[in-house]
Amino acid sequence: MKLAIKLAYRNLIGAGLRTWLNVIVLSFSFVVIIWMKGILIGWDHQAREDMKNWEIGEGQYWQEHYDPYDPFTLAESHAVIPEELQSEIAANRMEPVLIAQGTLYPQGRMQTILIKGIDPGQELLMLPTEKLDTAVAAVPAIIGSGMARAGKLAKSDYVTLQWRDRNGTFDATEIVITEIFTTNVPTVDGGQVWIPLDELQSMLMMPGEATLLTFEDGKAERPEPAGWKLKTSEELTADVTEMIQTKTIGQSVFYIILLLLAMLAIFDTQVLSIFRRQKEIGTYVALGYTRRDVVWLFTTEGAMHAVLAALVAAAYGIPFLIWQADVGWTLPVDAADYGMAMAQTLYPVYSFSLVLSTVLIVMLATTVVSYWPSRKIAKMNPTEALRGKIQ
């Protein structure tokens, strides 16, 4: 084993450019695979963190009829906040949100929206709700930058808002945009207008009611009040998990192609080596190797490409990956278009297991690809190999 490694190393270094071309291609695979997987992990971390900070906290209670994917349930998705949760709300560790359907008339156009009521004094979520606590002539409202773009709305704009109260009666009022916030979480932005909770409760004639309750303590033992469903942060981020899994599969295809290209280079080199180095193979046998030993030597040689590639990848990859983790990768398209929690700039996160698994996969694949053509050596006639006769 030690001898095979020593000889393989000598052969590889001696082969010069041919070795280094393979090594560079393979090192590129190492770095790109780690970087791409790092981006996915980073995205996953960021998305979960952003969703927690902007929307879901450490979990939520949903009124039993609430279904965020079915706007027709909204008319029924409200109930009086349960007594047993009032203390948490009073301690600012839980924030009620009331949701209703409405229609906005920006510059004469009509836009169906969700009206969300939230306490202006809340500090649980990153929404700039303090801007709702503003003395203005109309109902103060904050919107996300996505909503502002879609409705062509700017700060201080007045716009008509229409809704139906709990009795189905239409009503309308003027709202004024007091703040436009930027977020990576489109589910608090697109098609939504945030106004003070008490204002919305009054507009809908639903005093003391809410659609969902967001809490900050996810570890505490939680009651399950009648008419409310407890949603853990894992359940609430399931969509992100699913999306990232889908993306992971897509990216796997990409890096399998990348790996295949590198493997093709190794395979090609091995096939060529066995063809060109027949005399050398015969010489090894004459000097005391069995053909099996020569197969092992050639396999080690091929596999050693991966070892050299890992070293080369470390030389330029580590600075690159650290730099990327620092400055991130800015998406070439607007992240808001993805319709899910995704920052415009993604910061890759690399774990030890990611690096280790990538190194092991590449090394294993390289070894298999190196062994495959080397098996031909075992069938070679050493006397013909010595004379370099094509076999």
Partner: protein, 235 residues
């Protein structure tokens, strides 16, 4: 087999498939070569000398009959045993040198010692001794493409001799060399034969080599035609 014989061949026949028939390369060969001999298999192309050399070197096996090399029957050796025999006891010299081109002269000569598991310091001493025999101590860091044909063959001799084998098999060692280099190579081998009592068996049809041989075994159409001992080889 007598122990003083390095090679003993008895009724050896070797055939190769050739279409639907078989081609007989060697037929009923009987031969004994003792320790310290400087012998040659002489014959034209196709006479079977390289085939006999390969069988003697345990790189091939006889179709029938027996070949004993250093007391071991070539046809009954496993691949590993044959490799061990070559590794420990045999040295090979080839017509086209068969040096490892990406390795330096030192590394080429060191190779058989690596297989034998010698320590680094011992390897270094033995390699330098061997290179000194062939007069190439100034080329240790050169690679084969940087050497002349004569120098390459001297490296091959150093590689064959470095482990002080019992038997050296040389297949047309001077075929690619000019007269001056051929004589230099043969003188080196003759000196090693005298000093180390290594048995040399050549396969050749080169007059320059034949003149040095102390025993000439003529092969013709796969059979031993003539076997003569030369008391005072003329050069």
């Amino acid at each position: 087999m007598k122990n003083e014989n390095v090679i003993q061949i008895k009724n050896l026949t070797k055939t190769f498939p050739m279409g639907k028939t078989r081609f007989t390369a060697l037929e009923d060969i009987n031969l004994e070569i003792g320790r310290g001999e400087f012998a040659g298999l002489i014959g034209p192309s196709g006479s079977g000398k390289t085939t006999l050399l390969n069988i003697t070197g345990s790189l091939d096996t006889p179709s029938s009959g027996e070949a004993w090399v250093l007391g071991r029957s070539v046809s009954t050796l496993t691949a590993r045993e044959a490799a061990r025999l070559r590794k420990e006891n045999l040295g090979f010299i080839f017509q086209s040198y068969n040096l490892l081109v990406v390795h330096t002269v030192f590394e080429n000569v060191e190779f058989p010692l690596l297989l034998l598991g010698y320590s680094g310091s011992k390897r270094k001493k033995m390699v330098m001794d061997s290179l000194e025999w062939v007069g190439l101590t100034d080329k240790v860091k050169s690679k084969p493409p940087q050497l002349s044909g004569g120098e390459c063959q001297r490296v091959a001799i150093a590689r064959a001799m470095v482990k002080k084998p019992s038997l050296v098999l040389a297949d047309e060692p001077t075929a690619n060399l000019d007269a001056a280099n051929s004589h230099h190579i043969l003188q080196t081998m003759e000196k090693l034969n005298k000093e180390l009592h290594t048995t040399f068996l050549f396969a050749t049809h080169d007059d320059k080599v034949i003149r040095y041989l102390k025993r000439k075994i003529y092969l013709f159409d796969g059979k031993v035609d003539k076997d003569e001992i030369i008391e005072n080889p003329g050069k």
